[in-house]
């Protein structure tokens, strides 16, 4: 009995502690970031291990060649059916789906989708489908975070901020790249490197990475020989690699999008076996070139370490582009991160081999170019240049090659941007009829600033003026609120409604300072976006805001009214002035 009471007491204390955690937003964010990081890390490690073990069973050492055709074909048939019948939202990479959930569905990803993605991707990748595990991991991680958030009955906004937290944890564990995972979650998923969830994203990423190390040990994704710049002439070769990598990226993206559009036009009833086209294609390629099957990281590592035959890497670059495009377009489950790295490594090794053959004394081994090529292709395909530089550094832990990597990445990114303006994940979403916000739309929204809409400083109430005098002047001007200033400058806004109330209450002879007390001085600066001005107007309850200097917050530069904003957006005609008057 006493033990039961003791347990009940402990339970109550625990519940109190949990309630305390929930009461404090910072504590809740901290706790959820850690929990989601650890859980997602464990799930992604299970995903990696399960895929690896399944693949080892499907392709045993010394296995017959027919397996290379049969296994991916059957694998895509089975997963195609599962995706069609049970998990329709688990198709494809997972990145566009995660962004869709974040921006359209209020962060909602169903548990069924998480399970479907896990199961279908494991089977699909193990059977040799030429796709990657990182994108699906991101969706699984984001989904788990979303499920936990909803189960805790958090608000939509809070569930939304858990999505990048889960994404970053998943990518940190899948790629063994905690910093790149943070950057990717902010750069690609959120589209904002200054997102306020940065702290939580970093924490979950670090936690997932620690879990990965706890279970799988301290191994980078690729072990790479220490390369270095042999001669400054090499910068030119790396620039050429950037060009080739960029062109290869564009070919890949255009082929994938084109094929996907064609598959989408096929009758609906073919959807469940469309993935077989991908499975059969990669199987036939795998008959001649087994390295085209699956993610291919083992082969990438060999190439990175200088095991390069020009003809083989050149053929594999082309085959992988085609295989991945067909596998993805036909609706198999899997991502394009891994294939991007594979394609980049092959392109880099090919360029490096030619360069080393022509200029042996001035160039590094082809493996160095394969390393840089990975980053170039990733920057060109995924279009996250900052993430790609950090990612290559993290997967190889080789700092010496970072400058050539940056050069190649930027060139590849630029070429890809010019020849394929729409990034792949946006284009995929557009094909599905979804318009996700992107960096350009966000920049456009922030483009119109207060300075373009504000009006000149109106007459400021002198400190000695009474409320009644101020109200009379305000009535004449038609402004909803007036700035109040003293010898040091503006310090408050006084609304006409407040003045009328004061007069009605017999305070008309008092000075504005007497009725304002110690107000919060809500203001905007000239470089603020109009959206922020609207938010602050809502918070102040006035239809006018003071515009003040950034150098001195008491220095009044002008006034911004709701009417000014509407006119700037073109909602109200320019000659329709002082709308507030009516």
């Amino acid at each position: 009995m006493a033990a039961a009471d003791n347990n009940a007491g402990k339970r109550t204390a625990l519940e109190r502690w949990l309630e305390g955690v929930r009461q404090s937003e910072n504590n809740l964010a901290l706790a959820l970031s850690l929990v989601i990081g650890a859980l997602v890390g464990l799930v992604v490690v299970a995903f990696i291990l399960l895929t690896g073990r399944l693949a080892a069973r499907m392709y045993p050492a010394g296995g017959a060649a027919w397996r290379r055709i049969l296994v991916p074909t059957l694998g895509s048939l089975v997963t195609g059916f599962l995706l069609y019948r049970y998990f329709p939202y688990a198709r494809g990479s997972g990145i566009p789906q995660t962004k869709f959930a974040l921006f359209v569905e209020d962060g909602r990803i169903r548990m069924r989708t998480v399970v479907g993605k896990f199961v279908c991707c494991s089977a699909s990748l193990a059977s040799g489908i030429s796709l990657g595990r990182e994108g699906p991991s991101v969706q699984v991680g984001a989904g788990l975070a979303s499920v936990i958030g909803r189960r805790l009955a958090l608000s939509k906004e809070r569930v939304k901020w858990l999505v990048p937290v889960g994404s970053s944890a998943a990518l940190a564990a899948a790629f063994n790249t905690p910093i790149a995972a943070v950057l990717f979650s902010l750069e690609e998923i959120m589209g904002d490197l200054h997102a306020p969830v940065l702290g939580s994203v970093v924490l979950s990423s670090a936690t997932a990475w620690m879990v990965l190390h706890l279970v799988l040990g301290d191994d980078p994704l690729f072990h790479v020989a220490g390369y270095h710049l042999v001669h400054t002439l090499e910068f030119g070769v790396y620039a050429v690699l950037g060009v080739v990598g960029g062109l290869g990226s564009v070919c890949f993206v255009k082929l994938l999008l084109g094929l996907r559009e064609r598959f989408r036009r096929l009758p609906k009833w073919t959807v469940w076996f469309q993935p077989v086209v991908g499975g059969l294609t990669v199987g036939l390629m795998g008959w001649f070139y087994p390295n085209v099957l699956g993610v291919g990281y083992n082969f990438v590592e060999r190439v990175l370490n200088g095991d390069v035959v020009l003809r083989v890497v050149a053929v594999l670059a082309v085959l992988k582009i085609v295989a991945t495009a067909v596998c993805y377009a036909s609706g198999n489950a899997g991502g394009i991160f891994g294939p991007s790295l594979f394609i980049g490594a092959m392109i880099g090794a090919a360029v490096g081999s030619v360069a080393h053959a022509l200029l042996p004394g001035y160039t590094a081994e082809p493996g160095a170019y394969a390393l840089v090529g990975m980053g170039a292709a990733f920057a060109g395909i995924v279009r996250t240049p900052l993430t790609s530089v950090i990612m290559i550094f993290e997967v190889t832990r080789d700092y010496t090659i970072i400058v050539p990597l940056m050069i190649s990445n930027l060139i590849a990114y630029f070429i890809s941007y010019k020849l394929q303006p729409e990034p792949i994940y946006e284009a995929l979403a557009h094909q599905d009829g979804v318009q996700l916000p992107n960096a350009a739309s966000r920049a456009e929204a922030a483009r119109i600033q207060v300075a373009q809409a504000m009006r000149e400083v109106p007459e400021v109430f002198p400190p000695a003026a009474t409320v009644a005098e101020a109200a009379a002047r305000a009535r004449q001007s038609g402004l909803d609120a007036w700035p109040v200033a003293d010898a040091d400058g503006a310090w408050a806004m006084l609304g006409t409604s407040e003045m009328e109330s004061a007069i009605a209450g017999g305070w008309g002879g008092q000075e504005p300072a007497d009725i304002l007390g110690d107000p919060v001085f809500l203001h905007v600066h000239p470089d603020h976006p109009l959206g922020l001005a609207l938010e602050r107007m809502g918070a102040s309850g006035h239809k006018a805001l003071p515009v003040v200097s950034r150098a001195d917050v008491r220095e009044l530069l002008g006034v911004l009214t709701l009417d000014d904003i509407l006119r700037t957006y073109g909602v109200r005609k320019p000659d329709d002035q002082w709308g507030e008057r009516g």
Binding site: E25, A46, W161, M190, L216, G226, N305
Partner: protein, 383 residues
């Protein structure tokens, strides 16, 4: 995104409040249970994966070893690389790959592989030895010697003493070919203490001491071997070489004779024995010779020195040599009395020595085998 945990003014969501602490507790309990289960599954699968990978890598490694043993180095390299991509940090596989790369002449690749192994384990004896071999093949004697030393004082996982001894022996072999004699002698002295009781090693050391220019220590080693195995032909031959190096040709001849008796088909010992005989027959300073015989030998010595100089410089002798040749011809043509023979012998030997030195100075050819006894005798009398 405005509802950030750090920026928003709100504290508690109403829906969350409605969920209640029990649901919160239940959710966290479920999550932690899932995590515990996943951790167990992950650990199990990771262990299984490691075990399977180890087996697979071993299979590939064995195949690669087989290919290397058959001399199919390029195929072996391919297999070793496959094995290494599975068992990345396995030093045994890395060094085996480096060995085959070395055999295939791919020195730069071998060096890259060994460098990686050394980055992880800088004190590894095996990795340092592999690097020493690569540098040795590259002709970088100074660095090779340094890596040999690191290997000797490095860490060996098994049979450390034996591995260190073998490495030091390899080092002395290397120094005998490339290094300076002082360094070789220093290493041999360290080895001498480690090889007590091992006849074959002492015999090998004896030869190395000879190469290092220390015939006294070489003789000690060979005598030690003979104490253990009195009928050891190689030790007798070695002892003969040591005596020969000390210019004790009589003793050397005796030892060569015994060695030849024990191992009659040894052409090298036969050659050395003959050389000893030629030196002994030519040497005018040998004890116990009659005055006339000494004189005869001194004349012969002068004749041979002249022949050698003429062969070397051609028909037109340099002025200094021409003058010496004139003196020699005069000495050879003159008839002297018995009482003058001692002085004449000394003069002949001195002149022969001068002609030999002058001839060698202008000579562009190496000493021939036929000239070897003459060179040895003149070197001895010069002292």
């Amino acid at each position: 995104m405005s509802a950030s945990p750090t920026t928003s003014g709100e504290n508690v969501d109403k829906r969350a409040e409605a969920a209640g602490p029990s649901k919160l507790l239940g959710t966290f309990a479920l999550v932690f249970l899932s995590m515990a289960a996943l951790f167990a599954i992950d650990t199990f699968m990771a262990k299984m994966e490691r075990s399977e990978k180890r087996r697979e890598a071993r299979r590939i490694f064995d195949e690669a070893q087989q290919l290397a043993a058959e001399g199919r180095n390029l195929e072996a390299i391919e297999q070793f690389r496959s094995g290494l991509s599975i068992a990345r940090d396995n030093q045994e596989y890395e060094l085996a790959l480096a060995r085959v790369l070395l055999d295939a002449g791919q020195l730069a690749d071998a060096q890259t592989v060994v460098n990686e192994a050394l980055e992880r384990a800088p004190t590894s004896g095996a990795a340092n030895l592999a690097m020493a071999r690569i540098l040795s093949r590259q002709g970088n004697a100074a660095d090779a010697s340094s890596y040999y030393h690191r290997a000797i004082y490095g860490r060996w996982n098994e049979r450390a003493a034996e591995q260190r001894l073998q490495t030091r022996l390899e080092l002395v072999d290397f120094l005998a070919q490339h290094g300076d004699k002082g360094e070789l002698l220093a290493e041999l002295l360290r080895l001498q203490d480690e090889t007590v009781g091992d006849g074959a090693l002492r015999s090998r050391l004896g030869h190395l001491f000879l190469a290092a220019g220390s015939p006294t220590r070489a003789a000690e080693d060979f005598r030690e071997v003979l104490r253990q195995k009195p009928q050891n032909a190689e030790a007798y031959a070695g002892l003969g070489e040591a005596e020969f190096a000390e210019r004790r040709y009589l003793a050397a001849r005796a030892h060569f004779q015994i060695a030849l008796r024990l191992r009659p088909d040894d052409p090298n010992t036969q050659r050395r024995l003959e050389l000893c005989g030629q030196v002994l027959e030519m040497d005018p300073t040998r004890r116990g010779l009659e005055t006339a015989e000494r004189y005869r030998r001194s004349r012969r010595l002068m004749e041979l020195a002249l022949e050698s100089a003429s062969r070397c410089t051609g028909s037109v002798l340099p002025p200094a040599l021409r003058e010496m040749a004139g003196k020699a011809q005069a000495a050879l043509g003159s008839r002297i009395r018995a009482s003058q023979m001692d002085d004449a012998t000394e003069a002949n030997i001195t002149l022969a020595e001068e002609i030999w030195q002058a001839g060698r100075k202008d000579c562009k050819q190496a000493t021939t085998q036929a000239e070897e006894p003459l060179a040895l005798v003149l070197a001895e009398v010069g002292q």
